[in-house]
């Protein structure tokens, strides 16, 4: 190889590398330079908040602020991610959805979030159901952490065709009258089981914990001073015993909730009743049971009448570069229009007082659920809700410690007392750090 051709090759190689480097530099966008364009507010939600149409409407009518709605998967995927982004100080959206349990975890450690009182949040105090507003407050009411999106409101969803097979009344008023109390729920369940329809009465023993405790008690695992009382709280033990008693009598399908088996069980008609908050009707039961079961499900008032389960909030992380605009977006999404749009799309029950009274919600029916007047039913179920103390570590304890223990007792892998001791021990360990 002659020296000249080697020199040319070297020159060509150097030019290629330089070209690549410069090209790569030119292709990278500089995100901070959008001074003259619209401000983009990133909204991150989990599951299905039902904001599709609401975001579209906003983007169509606003030129200065655009919403970029990012769906971050299920809660259990989003929650750890958000915790990491808040700790790192970057990566979180401008507005994030917080499930109630998540929010409670951040009440004490709210340093990663913006105090919405600083951007004018006080004006919204009267627009929400009072206990929903109060739960979003931290620091003895001085820090507004989240604006309420939906509330739970719980009812009993049941399969009319399976009830008919078991010679039980199928009309929702009649069902509500047949099952006014928890004892009645158990005895009708036994009646159903005796009819041998091939289905069980209930999906899992664990699914009565939330409806029962939220209705019958004023606290669950923690008292007002955030001390762990799950082991001594009589309501918790009563619910535990009730669920496992039903399992022992063969009334439950012993499924693990929120698993693919549970999803398939809807299609396979494995159980006749399930406790459903508003967001579960259109958002959970309908996609799982499928179109083939349209009209077979119906909604009745749950035993005890009153129920509340879940509900979320929108919060603004402190790391946002556009706090005022983020607040505007959060305010819109939790306004009457936002709530009603979310209800229409995902049956998320509003926590906004005006939305609750609006005929669009109050008179709504669900075609999938045999034209049940879900607005009236769920609104009635929320009316008697007592404010409930849940505590900062409630969600982790219930979902990752208590429920699996109860499932293992239900499946016969442990006795009720052994499973109780196990979950209490683990919960105490978690609380003590």
């Amino acid at each position: 190889m002659s020296v000249t051709s080697r020199r040319w090759r070297t020159l060509a190689a150097a030019a290629a590398v330089a070209g690549l480097v410069l090209g790569a530099a030119a292709c990278s966008k500089d995100p901070a330079k959008t001074t003259n364009g619209p401000i983009t507010i990133k909204v991150q939600t989990f599951g299905n908040f039902g904001y599709g149409k609401a975001v579209e409407d906003w983007n169509a009518s606003h030129t200065d602020i655009k919403i970029d709605h990012q769906k971050m998967g299920e809660l259990r995927d989003f929650a750890p991610q958000l915790a990491q982004w808040l700790a790192a100080g970057a990566g979180a959206g401008d507005v994030v959805g917080l499930e109630e349990g998540q929010l409670l975890g951040y009440i004490k450690n709210h340093q990663g979030f913006l105090n919405l009182f600083d951007v004018g949040g006080k004006e919204l105090e009267k627009t929400y159901v009072s206990w929903k507003w109060e739960r979003g407050l931290a620091d003895d009411g001085k820090f507004l952490l989240g604006l309420g999106t939906d509330v739970g409101g719980t009812a009993l969803c049941y399969r009319r065709d399976l009830f008919e097979k078991a010679h039980l009344p199928t009309d929702r008023e009649a069902v509500a009258q047949l099952i006014p109390t928890w004892d009645a729920y158990v005895s009708v369940g036994k009646q159903f089981a005796a009819a041998n329809t091939g289905a069980k009465w209930l999906d899992s023993a664990t699914s009565i914990m939330q409806p029962y405790i939220m209705q019958q008690g004023s606290s669950w695992n923690f008292d007002a001073s955030d001390k762990f009382i799950g082991d001594t709280n009589p309501t918790v033990r009563k619910a535990w015993d009730l669920g496992l008693q039903m399992a022992a009598e063969g009334l439950t399908a012993k499924l693990a909730r929120w698993s693919p088996d549970w999803d398939a069980a809807f299609k396979n008609s494995a159980f006749a009743t399930v406790f459903c908050p508003a967001w579960m009707t259109e958002g959970v039961i309908k996609p799982r049971a499928g179109d083939g079961n349209t009209g077979k499900w119906d909604v009745a008032t749950m035993p005890g009448g009153v129920g509340n389960w879940g509900g979320s909030y929108l919060a603004v992380p402190k790391q946002t570069t556009h706090p005022k605009e983020a607040y505007q977006v959060a305010k819109y999404l939790t306004s009457k229009e936002g709530h009603l749009a979310a209800f229409k799309e995902a049956a998320a029950m509003p926590s906004d007082v005006a939305a609750l009274d609006d005929p669009a919600f109050a008179n709504s029916t669900s075609a999938y659920f045999n034209n049940a007047p879900i607005g009236k039913i769920f609104a009635a179920s929320v009316k008697g809700v007592k404010p409930m103390v849940l505590g900062s570590k409630h969600q982790q304890i219930w979902e990752t410690i208590c429920e699996p223990a109860m499932q293992s007792a239900e499946q016969g892998k442990a006795t009720s007392d052994a499973a109780w001791a196990k979950w209490v021990g683990e919960a105490k360990k978690l609380v003590s750090g």
Partner: protein, 312 residues
């Protein structure tokens, strides 16, 4: 007429010598800089974090010395995770490597579509781990899964895969074996190609059957390769995370009784989903690292002893 002065020549000479001596380091530097930033630094920072009471949700950290380590070592759930990890590892790796050896020796023979088969066994390895986890999780669903459906149609009682230790371990091992057997088979195959043919010929002349040839010639000759795959499998097996996590539908608990919760899942649960305790998670990560080191060395020693080969 230009005559280059002695000074320029000497400078050029010195520069060229400097070039020869220093350039190699400069060429390798980018990798090591990146490794230092993204490999070494996090490891050291994790060691630092393990000395504190450090919560992901709070901004203050209090020094605890080695308390995190003693907490972890006295935690029964930690030892349960260790037990699960080792158990799943052995259940997955031993059949996997044996099968890989067998497949490799079969692939050295003259077969139709030999190249196609050799490429085919690697296909499971190139699929996404998460996709494999999700699909196998559905196949092994406790109630309505395909495998249970097959068992049921043949009259065998269905197995609730996630409710027992042995069944969950078996399902996870199936996932791991499905993915890695082909990879290891190809590595063994490559090593076997290097064995000189005349060894087999002389063995055949001496009357050795194929099985004897396999055990007395093939396996000892590829001993370094077996050691290599054992170490890689150990490192991979100890870090098992995606398969058991997705088998449990994304829940790091690993079964109601933590039947299939591996160490990596326990670390993840402690640090990111339940306790948000970075300090304990870091301590566990370092213990896992030391653990892998010890286990890999034990593995090597066992294989060196078990597979007698040329005196070295």
């Amino acid at each position: 007429m230009t005559v280059r002065s002695g000074g320029t020549l000497r400078r050029r000479y010195r520069f060229s010598r400097l070039d020869v001596r220093v350039s190699p380091y400069l060429y390798v530097a980018p990798f090591f800089l990146l490794f230092a930033a993204f490999g070494v630094f996090p490891i050291l920072y994790t060691a630092y974090a393990s000395l504190f009471h450090w919560s992901l949700l709070e901004s203050e950290h209090t020094y605890r010395g080695l308390s995190n380590y003693t907490d972890v070592l006295t935690d029964p759930l930690f030892w349960n995770a260790v037990y699960n990890t080792i158990g799943i590892f052995i259940l997955a790796t031993v059949p996997q490597l044996a099968l890989a050896l067998g497949i490799a020796s079969l692939l050295t023979r003259r077969l139709r579509l030999r190249t196609g088969l050799r490429m085919g066994i690697l296909v499971p390895n190139i699929t996404s781990v998460a996709a494999v986890g999700i699909v196998f999780g559905l196949l092994f669903a406790d109630r309505y899964g395909l495998i249970n459906w097959v068992l049921d149609s043949v009259g065998i009682p269905i197995v609730e895969w996630r409710t027992h230790r042995w069944s969950s371990w078996a399902a996870i091992s199936t996932m791991v074996d499905w993915r890695w057997t082909g990879y290891n088979a190809l590595i063994y195959l490559a090593a076997m190609q290097a064995i000189p043919r005349d060894l087999y010929e002389s063995a055949a002349l001496d009357g050795a059957g194929p099985l004897r040839q396999f055990w007395q010639i093939t396996v000892p000759m590829i001993r370094p390769t077996i050691v290599f795959t054992a170490i890689i499998s150990t490192i991979g097996g100890m870090q098992l995370f995606t398969e058991p996590l997705l088998f449990g539908y994304g829940i790091p608990r690993g079964g109601a009784d933590n039947e299939y919760q591996t160490l990596a899942m326990y670390i993840y649960q402690t640090t990111f989903t339940r306790n948000f305790d970075v300090g304990r998670g870091s301590a566990m990560s370092w213990l896992l690292f030391l653990f892998i080191l010890v286990l890999a060395l034990v593995n090597v020693a066992l294989i060196r002893r078990g597979v007698k080969g040329e005196a070295r």
